[in-house]
Symmetry: D3
Subunit: 281 residues, 6 copies
């Protein structure tokens, strides 16, 4: 998957000075000054650290901490993964930009870094995915379980997920083993990208660039959700969806074309319809 312009720009930010990290620190410093009760948490999580990577590994490790795999041990794994594959932190930066751009209740990079459960779940998955690719499958499963228990988000470590992704609110999201999610996709709470049948093999959805999947939608089987498509809230999608179209309903049917190139970026959940579609009839 090639990164989109937005993501690339973020990725390049690791040279010399890291502008993402600089912005996060600046926004955090302001918070720490105006809210002394948070100063403690903000110093430990952000201001103590020199790099985006160090802060992210610290924050995720704290979230995933458990008596059976304490934060200190989890962090070693995260650090190892990020050092081995710089694309992990690059993707995390692109995800922050995605949230900053698309979420109307959000207005900074620091806020999603610190407080968005979907962001935390997604970055934790990226570590589990790295473990899976490196044949450390039992540790990947361990991590998947922790992510599911802590964030209520269940992403199989073998799933392939791009960058510039927003998992909004995130509770109840399920993404299966052979699912593919390309860059710049937005997925709302309670969305399932599930398989069907008990055979192994390629059996989960392929979600192309720019797709928006609204709250509670269930997408099942090895089908394709075409580039720039929109899946309406509460829909059950059992067949492939053409690029730049909107589907909705149980089961989902075509309700129109998408005006927007990338509905994921607009976050317009309306089923606005142009041309010939069932609802308009």
């Amino acid at each position: 998957m090639k990164p989109l312009t937005l993501a690339t720009q973020a990725a390049n930010s690791t040279d010399a000075v890291d502008p993402v990290w600089a912005r996060i620190c600046e926004q955090t410093r302001a918070q720490a000054e105006e809210e002394p009760i948070l100063a403690s948490f903000l110093h430990a999580t952000i201001l103590n650290h020199d790099t985006f990577e160090a802060a992210l590994s610290f924050h995720l490790a704290n979230k995933l901490d458990s008596p059976m795999a304490p934060a200190m041990m989890v962090r070693e794994v995260i650090t190892e993964a990020m050092a081995d594959d710089p694309a992990i932190a690059e993707a995390a930066r692109a995800d922050l930009f995605a949230i900053d751009t698309r979420d109307s209740a959000c207005c900074s990079l620091a806020a999603p870094f610190l407080y968005f459960k979907g962001f935390h779940a997604l970055q934790s998955y990226r570590i589990a995915h790295w473990l899976w690719q490196n044949e450390r499958r039992s540790l990947a499963l361990f991590l998947q379980n922790r992510i599911s228990q802590v964030f209520a988000v269940d992403i199989h470590p073998a799933a392939q997920i791009g960058m510039g992704i927003m998992l909004d609110h995130a509770t109840g999201i399920v993404i299966g083993e052979t699912a593919v999610v390309e860059n710049n996709v937005s997925i709302m709470q309670s969305v399932t990208l599930g398989g069907t049948g008990k055979e192994s093999g390629d059996r989960h959805p392929k979600v192309r660039q720019g797709v928006l999947i609204s709250a509670g939608a269930t997408v099942l089987g090895n089908i394709e959700i075409g580039e720039g498509a929109k899946v309406g809230a509460g829909s059950v999608v059992l067949k492939s969806v053409a690029p730049h179209t909107t589907v909705a309903g149980v089961p989902a049917v075509l309700v129109g074309r998408c005006l927007s190139e990338s509905p994921a970026l607009d976050m317009n959940h309306e089923l606005a319809c142009q041309g010939d579609c069932p609802e308009s009839s």
Copy 2:
């Protein structure tokens, strides 16, 4: 929003003797005697305290506890909020009454106080809301994140929620920034009151008094769910709903009038329909 009679009655109970607190203590004492394993928890959480407020702040702080913001620190904030705005604990009392009255599996005030995740999430939101109103937005976001992680309930601290509210089972509930929920509303698990589009501004549902929103319903946009209306389970509501009507389906359509004045109080999730409605046709 003016409190309904039920809520007011609870609210007045803080004078002299607090009957809500007295009932909770009495019911707890009975439990502590018959179940020694719980005695420890029940003493610490209820019987040790002199007031409803002290017990509630203790219990919520324990639930929200994390290494980065330990219970002791969280409790200071809760105590400060409750002292500054007595309506917070007043609303909590009304919420307990709401659950006691509406939940057929519940038969006390102590049980929801101690064990209902939806009650805990809602009262924690009330603290985050107070912080938001007092311009302490970063701490409000911190708390929102904790609530989402601990209870799997994601309520934006700016949302406006009345009293006498039941969030039943609660997992997966999402309530957006400009949503309004009036008094005596019942909301089931996996319900979304979401926005649409990425513009900021008033973009979430307004839910009027007495409404019942059944499990898994998604209500999107700045629309109105009229007083005493009922939204069927799994519905996707994209248009305003007239008072005292029932809507259902994806997308939701009118299926009848509500016989009950306040479906929230009856908790009847059937789509029983009177008069002219699609399903009956």
Copy 3:
């Protein structure tokens, strides 16, 4: 409810040598050797123990641990329950077999034992159910709350659930007080088996053997989901479903007969339809 053959076979395994436990230990030993970071957790949870029961009580107690009811105290209750009613651990063994057989992303008994949230939630419910039957209702409610908070699964302790059950992904599952779930049923994430109305009494679904309920389905009221039936994803079921049929939609309607005897075992979520059904028309 009489156990199916599969379950019985597992149940008998406690004599002399316990083949389930032997397999779990063997699979765990391999993991511990190839992933030193997990060795610590795997020894403490599995390899340290002599029996399936000892390991399960240790693992669940650790998951349910909280300052107000520490693991050590919770484990005493679990141990007491398992000693009093051997059917609890028997059912747990059958549940492991169910997951091993039906989940295409799973290939061992150790993996679900260690890492599947739905398995942990279900076994914890079995303890709460035992407490409820033994009139220790407040402790049962305490446990229900912990299960809901930790696993985001809310099962009323009075519900009756058979063996050979798979709760897949599990986030958001709600099962009400008078619900019955027979043997060899599969239930996906965000499924509700709910009541309707605020009267107490028998008001929740009865789910017969071999049923598959797909993701996000809401089944409401004292209705029957007949043996071997399938409920499509995102459906809202308000009426009884005949054996070996498939229903789907909001509200759910008949979409065909099930080819499979036990859709729960096939995990085929497609709404494939044979004969006369709405969608095919």
Copy 4:
């Protein structure tokens, strides 16, 4: 070592009704009623349990708890030891009687059980000693380290210690590998029973029945402190001490005979001297 009358009487108390346990429960119940803040702790530690052994294992495991060997795991070992060797709990009962009788600031069995660090350290040592005798030496050393860190008392697990022992205040007590402490001995804070030289073999003191060793005394080498002897505070004892005599000083010299048969029981730390002794000259 044969138990003294006092100890035997305590030991027999396990038949039918256990009077030691009954007294502890009664005294604890009174405390729990008058001090609600402690009710929680007292229920968990004492009132929840049916036997002295269950309560003691719970309390010690809680004290010795660490992330690397959590309470639940430690308790398994304690329970195993107490079940295998009933003399452990028997000795613990005798130790409680000893403190109740000798400590003028103490007036119950519950108080030392709950609050005396020396009692906790000594009972924890008894478990480590059992492990050592059963050739589980690394776990014994692990426990010795925990005891030293938690209670600041360092007793080698191979040391042999009788019953009816009071370790008063206890901070800084060190007892070496080949030391022997017979029944009904009292040892004050900062006392060392140490070895000398780096050869292994029998190189630590043998302390006979009824001996009192006052605060800060250092007793070094394979010497004998005879029955009923008294060692003055701050003394350094490098030679054997005759029965029923008092020694004091650096190095310790004879300062008189002991009037008392068992100075350990009188806890008189004065160097009162009868007859021919250096100080009186």
Copy 5:
């Protein structure tokens, strides 16, 4: 006991602006800026709070925290005690001045407040003493045990201790039930103020103003250590000591007069001797 000038001056500082608190905050702010790793701790412990009392109760509660009596519960007791008896925090301020003045390795008020175990143990004792005086003896004993376990300092809650006290290094200090320690006393590590005999009643030392007791000294029985006296390191004191004299040895004998009015303030541990004394002979 009437407070000395130094203590009084500190005590008056609570009006309007509290200069002690102001200095602590200023010194802490400097630390937090130069050492980001501590910023977190320093904000939570000092900078978050408005008053000396709030910070002290927070810090002590954190130190005394245990699963059986969590910080949040302990803090309630500390807050209650400090509100009821303002002399507690007044004495704490005087103790800080004492350390600042006497300890050559210390150069601030913030350092002992934050880091001196003897200060923490002493202030915790002050709470236990308040409980004892208010007839809450079991909670006082609970606290004594926590202090002994956490700080390795064992002070009976009934002991009477003045203000302007320095417990230096503090490990192993034991102070008995009927001991009295007047204002402006310095006590080094491993010092015992013990009783003798097993009778209850007044049986511990009375230590007058300005006394210095050096490391490892053992003072036993109802004897008086006169104003301005000095007890040499490692001494065993069994007889009263005249004001402004120095004693040393095992047993302790007069070694000279003290040149200093208040040896506690000079912290000169030498046995410098003027006039007629054993060592000089």
Copy 6:
């Protein structure tokens, strides 16, 4: 200070293969196999790690862990110190050899690494000392406080301590700001190397190579304990001690010459005397 041969040999062991680390791992593997209850701890602490340094930083961080400075944060500091100054881990290796050679109750390198409080306190001091030298004094004081609270050992971070040091049993050891302890010294429990007077400046003992200071000895002031000297248990030393002599008593006087070149290595605490000395007269 130049390292002795023994220490140098250990220090060189970091090239290519580290024999110290290899031995520790081998001894630990044996333990983990024979004691499953410890396997968990041993894997996490030793077997998971590739280097001596990684394991030591993990183990110390776990010991020093507190809510206010969690293990993960502490470990960062330890890792930084060890990377900056390789002499820290070199000294730790030499200390292990020292214990292995001198302690007759010890027979491995793994045992002191894992279980000896004095070793843990000393290595933690080495980190605090590095901080002090790097002008990070407040963090050094923070660490000193943690060491004092956790291990009951109080070493000022400015003190200078060589390698090949054994702090045996360790409870109550106090070492002051300007103290110097050269290589291959043994210090027993409750020993004080203290200052005298409240002037700052050089005011603590200088302890030369090979010295043995027995239990409870108090050494005060800027005096020298000459190479190969021995200080008897319970002694109070106020004057310099000539090389290769033994002193004892309160105050300490010469009792003879030391036969051994390095009494620290022999650990013979007897006051055996050759030639002209008080006791022999």
